[in-house]
Assembly symmetry: C2
Homo-oligomer: 243 residues x 2
């Protein structure tokens, strides 16, 4: 049975401040939990799961699994439809040292929608992008909604929060490709071996300061009449052409 302090603790992890203090995050649902358990670099702290799910698992760390009823899961879940299992994990640990050499990295200038950020991380995971550098005003990647949208990409993609202008200054030898509406048409760009792909805010785009630090501008050719593309879709499209 869940005690009141447990419920309160889990609910408190919806706040960034408490997640940061504890160094943990929450994920929900069989698919993402099973992937996180398999990924390896995010230590499990505790699972709260319905009996039906537990019985389907071949291996589970028994000392970190607590059976809950559907009603109990509903109390701790942040989903509209709680889904069998909720897990608390330690934030993933990545190798120290950060090289942006011979690879494509992503930089997000204040992507604020949790669903967009999560979808971008999932997309990075698909295309083998290992590093995503976010401005400090971006959504928190350990926000439950972001975690759910990453589909376990959170365990494999390193997400940093930095002052982007300073970061670019200290990595001035890496080309920066800014996604804009007036750049080189994407199909003309060809494959990119090394660089930072810079994606802007959902409504404001890329800040003027960062835009001036970009070495290239790239544009997804438009055929119809939409004013812009969703930030995650634009990221996916550009990566699919340059990777």
């Amino acid at each position: 049975m869940l005690v009141k302090t447990q419920v309160k603790y889990i609910q408190s992890l919806s706040q960034k401040k408490l997640r940061d203090e504890e160094g943990v995050f929450v994920a929900e649902g069989p698919k993402i939990i099973e992937e996180l358990l398999a990924a390896g670099n995010t230590d499990l702290v505790q699972l709260y799961a319905e009996d039906s799910w537990i019985r389907q698992q071949a291996f589970l760390p028994q000392n970190a699994v607590q059976t809950v009823t559907p009603a109990e899961l509903e109390r701790i879940s942040s989903l509209q439809t709680p889904n069998q299992v909720l897990g608390i994990f330690r934030k993933p640990v990545f190798p120290t040292g950060l090289s942006l050499r011979n690879k494509i990295s992503l930089m997000l200038d204040t992507v604020q929608d949790p669903g967009n950020l999560g979808t971008i991380v999932r997309c990075a995971d698909w295309f083998g992008i290992s590093t995503v550098i976010c401005s400090r005003e971006s959504a928190d990647v350990f926000n439950p909604k972001v975690v759910q949208s990453t589909m376990a990409g959170i365990a494999r993609v390193r997400v940093l929060y930095e002052d982007l202008a300073s970061f670019l200054q200290t990595h001035a030898d890496i080309p920066v490709y800014a996604a804009t509406l007036n750049g080189t048409p994407l199909p003309k760009l060809g494959t990119v071996k090394e660089g930072i792909l810079l994606i802007g805010n959902e409504s404001k785009g890329i800040s003027e300061e960062l835009l001036q630090m970009a070495t290239h501008k790239v544009t997804i050719p438009k055929i119809g009449q939409a004013e812009s593309l969703n930030a995650a879709v634009a990221t996916g499209i550009i990566l699919s052409h340059i990777v």
Copy 2:
């Protein structure tokens, strides 16, 4: 001042049944409202707007604009942060007759997440796709969350709800490109002049019945370890390569 019956009526439009009966939908926020007013094929029924927004508009149909206070807007808004203006529009009217010849159309096998559906319509709008055919179990394109994500694409892209298998049978002369995990690598496909791009459900993919009706399978090459891509991102990537 808003009267109670108005508030109730607007709130009732969050239900599909009532939207269908009235033939209208709701959109919110300056950006999408201004685009819908400009698009032309969605007649405005009524705007409820804060004075600050109204004063910024050069032209407004005065007989269909009602000034509301921020508190009133909050009562009728479905957004967490109401945004200056809410509009009720007639559903867009498209030319009768449907030709899928010499163009790419989209078919969605039960895309259920409103944000995904809206983002796909926005993406279709960007790439000049004029028709999206959804299974009847898909999210309703006039759901407020979908409307918001389409960013006015709803006014330019025709979205149909059909029995997909029957639809494909009656359009058997049009090639069908199914997005799967085991098809032709996307870069090898080249440009497509005519066809239906078939996208599957967020977790179940494309149903077996429809998969067997596909004439081609296409796959976005994976470099990293993600199990799948978000449905809207996958749609955008494939369109960007074949259009």
